[in-house]
Symmetry: C2
């Protein structure tokens, strides 16, 4: 359903009685994430999300300040499960699982193209840049820093490391190959990044 | 001089006799790099470069296949000296010098904004992406890989390292903070990146 079918909002795809707010919110987020992955920011409109989730535009505007904010929250919701941070107690296993899953998501699904275009647009759209930081990259960074901090507490990593810099050397290095594909983005590359950092180059 | 002054190409700023091709080429590259840094891709035209360098558009089209190719070659020419790769014989000193110079260039000059916008545009412009890779990121990667390979030959780094992955964990990590400024891009950050890799996190 699109803006070209004005009756859409009045006749939502799935008729339902009054749903709890949490459920409406969850359905909006899923609809937003799926729409973003299917059509990129170019095809992403509040109207389409509203129609798909059987919610009103007013409800969406009440909860999200902008189209970009809704898109990023939706993206986080939909890719979140694929990017879950395991906690097996072994930081090398956990980093390897997470980073190779991230590489597969970027390389083998529409998420790679979508996220590249979001980062590109954020360079000239300050509102989108803020939404990206507050609703996607900030929370994802926090999950990684948490995992690294747990590993420090368990004595698996040195106590004086700067976890934020490690995020840039693992996920940031992958984003670098995603955006500038001089060299391929592969699971082996992800494993090498971890090995370089854990063992050191000397 | 701009497209709005059609007489510009006929009355170049600096009148000169016939110059050797190498000199014309060098002056075109300098004019292109300076125009790109001053105005970004939005203000970058072959006409302006031709007028500034006192060359004809035909000459420029003979040597460069596209506006993007000229812009990237010009950028490489103008920022090259600031990004020279020293070879003191000590890889840690050399990496630190180069990476902190790169951070200063990105953070303190228009180069940071210009390169962000080039990377952004390359996401939806395949010709610009090719020009970026062939004329900027590829050659810069090669310089770094060369320096790392020299360090391996001198026994300063392990013989089994993958130099390409190290490029992504040093310069790529800086690009990550440039494009997604969740955390600040500083000289201390650059030093931490090197230290993480050289010593290892364990």
């Amino acid at each position: 359903m699109s803006e070209a079918t004005p009756g859409a909002a009045a006749t939502p795809r799935r008729g339902r009685g009054r749903r709890p707010a949490d459920q409406v919110r969850a359905e909006i987020l899923t609809a937003a994430g799926n729409l973003l992955l299917a059509q990129g920011m170019a095809g992403f409109t509040i109207e389409k999300v509203a129609a798909e989730a059987g919610a009103s535009r007013m409800t969406i505007y009440k909860w999200w300040p902008s189209r970009g904010a809704l898109a990023l929250d939706g993206y986080f919701t939909v890719v979140g499960p694929a990017l879950a941070f395991p906690d097996t107690g072994d930081i090398i296993v956990d980093l390897t699982d997470q980073l190779t899953a991230f590489v597969r998501l970027m390389r083998d699904t529409p998420a790679g193209r979508v996220i590249s275009q979001l980062i590109a647009q954020a360079q000239t759209d300050p509102d989108l840049a803020t939404a990206y930081r507050e609703r996607y990259s900030g929370p994802r960074r926090a999950l990684a820093v948490e995992a690294l901090t747990r590993a420090v507490a368990r004595g698996q990593l040195r106590a004086d490391i700067d976890p934020e810099s490690v995020v840039d050397q693992l996920w940031g290095a992958c984003y670098h190959r995603l955006l500038l594909p001089d060299q391929p983005l592969t699971e082996d590359f992800a494993r090498t990044l971890i090995d370089n950092l854990i063992r050191g180059l000397r």
